[in-house]
Symmetry: C2
């Protein structure tokens, strides 16, 4: 506990805390005054906004292996050193996939006037194979789901298969954006591979996302070497067009995609430690991912997440608060197309997993947060009451326990028993921009971002200082 | 009046009409039963939707001089002949501007990491000049309005001037989308020309439109020969990025635009007449424009307008209603970048303007209509009560008189005294898609489109049959 905390009327505060939460031992982690101070300091700062702006305005896209990703490693490491954190660059080998030319047009269809072809807006999926340099032309087979692909398996050979599956915006509007994304992205992940197994010449998926502004949404696909066919997302509008034309008669497409799968590249996780005072070997991770897709500047996904994690350290430094456990800010590399950063960290720390007290990641955009998700044992939930109380004034007092969060970068640690934490937030418009050229700084609300920092900083402080054990994650299906 | 109308209990209907509107002489134009029948027939038909689909799905973009525009002339003429209308192709020479390559990136700015440049999404404005084939590089000067351009006139020479003027969505949401567009598009129209006069190397305007999905909105610009500098729209996001970077320090851009201004091309207005029974020399025009911008399929702008006008003839034919005056469906060519179709028609019919009883055009998208705008003398407004009464059941009973509508294709006729009519409609989201790649069929609501047809068909019938004169347009400032 630092000198400012000591200068508070400690006894009165502790008495109040004990009255409010009689079951708990008092500690700096559940000290209401400290948590309130952290919250208010975060709510008065634009540090996370400035870091988000630096990452997106000065660098832009940061796909693994790119100059942007390398520049982001340098930028974040420098900012953390400036704060006095102990910075380590942890080497990781990352996939190096590079987008090439991409174009598509419908060259044959029933009712096509002579001399006309219809442009289709496509964008290659990460990991896609390439067409010949002159493109390929093939009939289009539209399917609405995996069952239809299976039923029409005999028709697939030599065709361009389109999975025309609409994103369920109604589900997203009901607060289930993640589930809607899960449903849709299953086609992006598995569709091209299944089409390749049936001999497809190429595979297209309808963009997985909410709004419809002729925007293609990229993302990674699960193709395997030896069957790496060209695979791309088309816009919702173009998927609907192709479905309508297919009802009129046979449709053929000319498709050009020239991405390259280059040898793995050298990159890094950026790790910045704020060493703990009396339990320095115990670690609380607060994190976001540094890489983004190549189409946009990845403001929501995930510059805002990294910047919020960075701002946790800045908030504590501004207050001169020193944690009991070590707080470790991690800017993960390669969440988007390989999670090599998370895998590398896990490999290095596997034997040390027990020393990881908890791990936070923000990777669902910077929508307004209203609480915390946590994969702690049910019995531990009540311990979080002081944290909830501190976050209630900013509307972020909800505590949602789950058996597993299964987030991109933390799922390995979670399976090793490390409880995961993530902001619970409004994601209803997140998938409008996600993985598109429109994921830009102007979409990030500075006030929402401050709330993210307040939530993450208070949670980090709570975890880094609490006296009681919060237990271990127990992911169903994992021993 | 045709046999079906005669078979109605005419006396009862006329008596009811006379009781409701005692000041009016009864006529087939204000016969409530006929107007109701037209409305209900239109509301039960998908003809306009099918024509919109044919224009957008089968042809796609229809910029003047393109193969798409030519195919649309043929397609619409054929559909009108199929209905038994008397079809004329009226020759017009149209501008032939062709988009080329277009790309832009910010190559210098304060804080730029080595090896990084930021992509800017641009699209050339219609009539833009070209950069050298290798592009041009120049410093960027950001201005917020014409006054700032003037004040900083000495800095303009050799620069790329960006007019970063935001579209006023709040104004659009208040029902003033047209005014918001007028404000914004003044920069697109005049900005590049004014920048050219001050020696700018190129000019950029922030896209004029509502939603912000990294979509560039094209449109025509008022450059003149001899000073035809490269001129493009950038997305709202990119304009904001450049403004932010300009606050950090000097910004330079590499810009490539290779559009071509080709010699004027041959094209046509499509005119389809339904001859009048007892006043065949008097004409009521119902119209939309056939050309669109090249970025998208122009579903709202203005395939839906043309299709609605076509559907007016289809509705009357289905009912076997023959008008007293001649109903003339016109699919105008070249509204977007020259209005050569409207000018050609006006030149041919100038001496015959008095015989044009009224003219309708739908060119504000296919949002839900709630009434009619009209440039008739104030004293004539009350004549429209029976039309309003017939449209009230579909929520389209508002009658809004204005001194002038000044729409793209009808303004010449209006200045010659021909009253203009246009649907009064919800345009709050029209400028989200307008002149972008996202103006596609899926954005058109089939139910709204039926309402357009009902409104336009009832209005056309009313004008083609009414006994009383409705007076002439009296545009302020025109003798």
């Amino acid at each position: 506990m630092n000198r400012r905390i000591r200068s508070l009327p400690v006894l009165a505060v502790l008495a109040a805390a004990l009255l409010a939460y009689p079951a708990q031992a008092a500690s700096p982690g559940n000290d209401p005054a400290a948590l309130a101070k952290i919250r208010d300091t975060a709510m008065a700062s634009d540090y996370a906004w400035e870091r988000t702006a630096d990452m997106t305005d000065l660098i832009g896209p940061r796909l693994s292996g790119s100059a942007g990703a390398a520049a982001a490693v340098t930028q974040v490491a420098e900012a953390m050193r400036k704060l006095g954190a102990r910075v380590t660059l942890q080497p990781v080998k990352v996939p190096h996939w590079v987008r090439g030319l991409e174009s598509a047009e419908l060259v044959e269809y029933q009712g096509r006037p002579s001399g006309i072809s219809q442009r289709v807006v496509v964008t290659a999926l990460g990991g896609s194979g390439a067409t010949p340099a002159s493109g390929l032309s093939a009939p289009v087979l539209v399917v609405k789901n995996f069952d239809e692909l299976k039923a029409r398996g005999a028709e697939v050979k030599g065709k361009i298969v389109l999975f025309d599956v609409a994103f369920d915006q109604h589900m997203a509007d009901r607060g289930l954006a993640g589930q809607a994304y899960g449903q849709g992205s299953a086609y992006r992940r598995d569709g091209p591979r299944l089409a390749a197994e049936l001999g497809a010449a190429a595979a297209l998926v309808r963009s997985v996302g909410g709004a419809s502004y002729r925007l293609p949404h990229t993302g990674s696909t699960g193709l395997v070497d030896g069957a790496r066919i060209p695979a791309a997302a088309v816009t919702a509008e173009d998927a609907m067009l192709m479905s309508r034309l297919a009802k009129r008669g046979p449709v053929s497409m000319r498709l050009l995609l020239t991405p390259q799968n280059l040898p793995d590249a050298d990159s890094y996780n950026v790790i910045a430690d704020l060493p703990g005072s009396d339990k320095p070997d115990e670690i609380v991770i607060v994190s976001g991912h540094l890489d983004s897709w190549d189409l946009a500047t990845g403001a929501h996904d995930d510059a805002a997440g990294v910047a919020s994690a960075m701002a946790v350290l800045e908030t504590l430094k501004k207050l001169d608060y020193r944690p009991r456990r070590t707080i470790r800010m991690i800017a993960w590399m390669n969440e988007e197309n390989g999670t090599r950063g998370a895998r590398g960290y896990l490999a290095a720390e596997q034997a040390n997993a027990d020393k990881h007290f908890g791990a936070i990641e923000s990777d669902n955009g910077a929508g307004r947060p209203f609480g915390l998700r946590a994969s702690v044992p049910a019995a531990s939930s009540k311990l979080f009451a002081p944290l909830q109380a501190a976050l209630l004034p900013i509307g972020a007092g909800v505590f949602q326990r789950q058996d597993a969060l299964s987030t991109g970068d933390l799922s390995g640690l979670e399976r090793a028993g490390v409880p995961s934490f993530a902001p619970l937030l409004d994601t209803s418009s997140y998938f409008d921009y996600h993985h598109t050229p429109a994921d830009t700084l102007d979409k990030v609300d500075p006030d929402h971002l401050r709330r993210h920092v307040a939530l993450m900083a208070a949670t980090t402080w709570f975890l880094a200082n609490i006296e009681q054990p919060i237990g271990r994650a127990n992911v169903p299906g994992v021993n």
